[in-house]
Symmetry: C2
Subunit: 366 residues, 2 copies
């Protein structure tokens, strides 16, 4: 096998910038300054307090957030947020929170919310097999909902919202796990945003949460400390031992985004070109490659299939031999998927586009 990190199109955990990998590899042995392995530095050290402070600041800078927002770094993935959000905001409420069911991951969030309080699913894509997102005139938001929750990018089906949903008098909560920091957005229109790291910003094991002050001002949940946003905010994400390595890796990615890429505008320009390249190959393939989404195609997860499972197996095996990895579709739906998160380079996507073109030509009946 000759797989290459830069040709890793995994749905996540996936590619990280090569520069970040090289630095982490060195710092497993020795972090200049502290002079110790990154794995052996105390979470109560001054060095780590600076890591947290710089990372909070970098996220704030990239997102253009005012001081009204807190930045948290917690364990448990988006899954833990599926529960922490309704534990905090839905317990004891009479009005239902409003959820959109747009694919696999929002389908995981809804039952966890129902454990805590009333939920109204205001739109579901299940009837159309999740091949598109709702238009505005299909959505009717209630002013009485404690919050509205949706997922900006459905990783499995390859669907992405290119607009902000909801109403301004109801807190918007968004799971941005799979397109976080991939493009500019009016982030301050949200009350709470969460994103696990293992798509765009780091390794598995850490989740970024951005939360506006007023959302939790009046909450009084008698929650365990580790599930309590207020406790975690007060402790600067250091209520109990945080995953130092994963947080440091996210810091290095945030530096790369700011210093090497030049911010979210530039990142979006690169990401747009990457997605265009692959969708063009699909659209110009005379039906050889079949995109899954009928509309609202994701710029992060290009989901497609071939005419048969045999052909797909051949595609994956040829791709692997050429150094590509992570191109199998999600186990829930099969098919193929190229995830082109921030760290997947334009060059890598050009190589994949070339490979796809060639595979199609070779597979054509003579």
């Amino acid at each position: 096998m000759t797989l290459q990190n830069k040709l890793n199109f995994s749905g996540g955990p996936g590619a990280l910038p090569e520069k970040v990998l090289v630095q982490l590899s060195e710092e497993i042995i020795n972090v200049p300054g502290p002079g110790l392995s990154i794995l052996g530095i105390s979470h109560r050290s001054e060095w780590f307090a600076e890591v947290i402070a710089e990372l909070e600041n970098n996220i704030r800078t990239l997102m253009g957030l005012s001081d009204a927002y807190h930045v948290l770094l917690l364990q448990g993935g988006a899954t833990q947020q599926f529960s922490m959000v309704p534990m905090t905001l839905l317990r004891g409420q009479n009005s239902p929170a409003e959820y959109l069911h747009t694919g696999y991951w929002s389908g995981k969030a809804i039952p966890e919310a129902r454990l805590e309080g009333p939920v109204r699913v205001i739109w579901s894509g299940s009837e159309n097999n999740f091949n598109r997102l709702p238009s505005d005139d299909e959505l009717c938001f209630s002013p009485d909902a404690p919050y509205i929750h949706y997922i900006s990018n459905e990783t499995v089906e390859g669907l992405q919202f290119q607009r902000i949903l909801g109403r301004n008098d109801v807190p918007r909560i968004c799971d941005m796990s799979s397109d976080f920091l991939s493009k500019p957005c009016e982030f301050e229109r949200f009350s709470l945003i969460y994103a696990h790291a293992q798509k765009n910003i780091g390794p598995a094991g850490i989740t970024v949460i951005v939360i506006r002050n007023d959302l939790i001002e009046h909450t009084t949940g008698n929650l365990p400390g580790f599930l309590d946003y207020k406790t975690q905010i007060k402790a600067h994400s250091n209520f109990n031992t945080p995953p130092v390595f994963a947080i440091y890796a996210v810091l290095l990615v945030s530096r790369w985004l700011i210093n090497d890429i030049g911010g979210l505008e530039n990142m979006a320009a690169i990401n747009n070109r990457k997605a265009e390249l692959l969708y063009r190959v699909i659209d110009e393939s005379d039906g050889f490659y079949r995109g899954r989404a009928a509309a609202d195609r994701s710029l992060m997860n290009v989901v497609f299939k071939l005419s048969s499972a045999e052909l797909e197996a051949g595609f994956l095996s040829r791709a692997q031999a050429a150094g590509f990895s992570g191109l199998a579709g999600h186990r829930a739906i099969g098919g193929l998927r190229a995830s082109i998160y921030n760290a997947v380079t334009l060059e890598a996507v050009e190589e994949l586009a070339g490979f796809m073109d060639e595979f199609r030509r070779r597979s054509k009946p003579n």
Copy 2:
């Protein structure tokens, strides 16, 4: 600064075996086999399923556990277990669970348990400033308790049980975070054992839980998936994306324990010699070094102080110049602490003992 990883006496995250650090450093770039960065390998890959299976098996082997036990690898640290245990076993119970309050960390576990149900603290060391553990005749366990919970080693105060507490007709639950896999133990006398990794077995961000089948057979808690032992067991610790890197690091440490150390008997022999060395320096210092514990001294955390804060500051500064790190006491109580977890070598402890002897000689009034 010339700090050395091998002279890291941190309370955790702390030292890891040098061999493990070197391998992790290499595999941040390329894991032989998959041929990808450890940070870019999918948690749904065959490779990772084998990592989980081997690690479960290694832990089972090291602990001598039968198939009646499940091994889980979860996020959230011991803190999450402070809550998961009573969420699962105490909610809706009338009889109180029995907790021992033996120091800083058991003091953190008790209020989280009280959030979920009735708790009886059957012994507290608060009156004697947590300078010893209870003797058997100070303890009276009820046959009606849903479980008994205690902490085998109090990291902050440096106290360690050298026996197993409780009664055989009540499930024993033990937080072994800071002495896990440091010595043999009749592990099967416990119904549930948990230990976060960052003391003896890996980096921060992962926790090992060992749980006997019958403990949760009849539980029906309507818990979120990530907090539900049954859901996590069914998913082989892969309910939602686990911290792949941290789990892999624990696997490497478990291999080191089995292959390089030769199991827990050997590990205990080394750990005993390490602790003896340091306690001898303290005991033979004519009161220059003052051990904190009046009895039940920990073999993992040697907690002591000097006659003044100035002298302690001088000790830390001189130690740092000599390459030692992590010797400051826990922020809750101050003083000094040498944590001598599994990965701290006998040679490193000999160096520290030599340093302590010399520091004492130099500090003596002429």
